[in-house]
């Protein structure tokens, strides 16, 4: 197993969890012709993705995993044990799709989806050896049509297992 195997296995795990989460599926606001069982590569992507067309008014969830530069490459042997992979979620929403007409909820679709993702992953202890921690939750724009909310989670793992 490669040193970065956690990238694939964690992506598999996250995509699997997202695609079976009925609350998230509901919040994505699927069209009638879309299959709730088949959202991978359609609404949920395990890489950065920018829709080619701006005609489809949709929201997407993107996930990417990075293993940042080791902080203490030449530091003490004790510090050399740990790596801190980051799991980055993007909730990418067409600005025409921001309005979410959902009973009992008030807010933009983008914010609501980001909130569900935070609830789902904040504090999780099954990614690496430590606790998954939300480091940032920021909004931005891809272009004049698509807006996003970026959630960065930091994990802790052991060298040789992940990093």
């Amino acid at each position: 197993m490669g040193k970065s195997s956690c990238i694939r296995s964690w992506k598999n795990k996250i995509v699997s969890e997202l695609s079976q989460d009925d609350e998230i599926i509901n919040a994505l606001g699927l069209n009638l012709d879309e299959d709730p069982d088949d959202l991978v590569w359609k609404r949920i992507f395990c890489h950065y993705f920018i829709p080619q067309t701006e005609e489809q008014v949709r929201s997407y969830i993107l996930v990417e995993i990075d293993i940042p530069e080791r902080r203490t490459r030449y530091g003490s042997s004790d510090s050399n044990i740990w790596v801190h992979p980051t799991i980055v979620f993007y909730v990418l929403t067409h600005q025409e799709d921001m309005h979410m007409n959902m009973a009992g909820e008030s807010g933009t679709r983008m914010d609501y989806l980001a909130e569900l993702i935070e609830e789902k992953y904040e504090g999780r202890q099954d990614f690496g050896v430590g606790t998954l921690q939300l480091k940032s939750d920021t909004a931005g724009s891809v272009n004049t049509t698509y807006r996003f909310r970026q959630l960065v989670f930091e994990a802790v793992d052991v060298v040789g297992v992940c990093g």
Binding site: S9, K11, N12, K13, V15, S16, E17, S19, Q20, D35, P36, D37, D38, V40, W41, C46
Partner: protein
Amino acid sequence: MQEWYVINSQPTMLNGLEKDEWDAWVTDSFDELITETPLRDDVKLCRGQFNGETGEFEVEVETQAIIQNRDFDAYTQGWKRQILTRMSDNLAEYKYVKATDTLGNTQIYLIMTMPETNKIYTKAVLHECNYTLKWQDADGNIYYYPTYTADATQYNTGVERNGNILETGYIQLMSWISLDDVTKELYRDKRMFIDVASESPETYVITSTSKVPYSYNEMRIMRITFTECEYNPKTDRIDLMLCDYIDPNDIPHPNPINITFSGSPSIRIGGRKTFTAETENEVVFSLVNSALLDGKLTITQTDNKCVVRCANDSALVGATFKVEVAGGGQRSELLVDVIGAV
């Protein structure tokens, strides 16, 4: 045959146990008789459906036996034999015997009586099968049954006069046949060809059956009486030797249950897939999978829908399983591929 031989040594001579003495001197001697002497006949004990194309039964067990009454004294005895077999051959479990005749051809004999033992060997009466009946059931399945068929009207004229206007054939035959789950359903009005002629074979119709008297309470044999009937060129197929031919292609088969789903018939590891049975009947879904997928798939059924979930395990990618649905007497299945999560 050996010029001389010593009967098998009997190691139980001195133990004084009568059963062992019996087995050693009687049972063992009979075994030796049919194993090592010219009285031996190599036979096959048969049961199950007979395949008219290959001439073989579903089950054929080779063994040795003594076929008696080969040197009959009257032509009316020519098809009758008795068979003696080892008790351990369990002759009662079989319906037919295959043995070789004087010409070296394999003959099929119908076991006419319930085989019984006299504590030395098992014996049954055999009749040589002289004709193989062939017919179809309502579903178009073709059956072949070797029978001993006898003349039931050998002294009459063979025709019936109806006021000097019409003469019709009036021959009757009796067929003895194995009684089983197929033949017990034979009733009057079933028509069959019974003839060795191939250009204009005679057609017969069942006019009576006798299922209980010869059953020995063990589904042994039954008698069928056939009466000559008219050939029907519209429904009888001489080329196939089948009366009232049913083309299997003409039999309406119930439509299988249609299993619908979105996208392709595949499920991602760690994913789920919903399958819907398009029927108004109550259905039951089930999965058929290899050992690799044991414990890796879950199925949840709600009415005529089921959701299959697959564990998030990369080792499962490339595996396949079947979704089966049954209901209303129908059954369908769908092969599903397991693909990667992303």
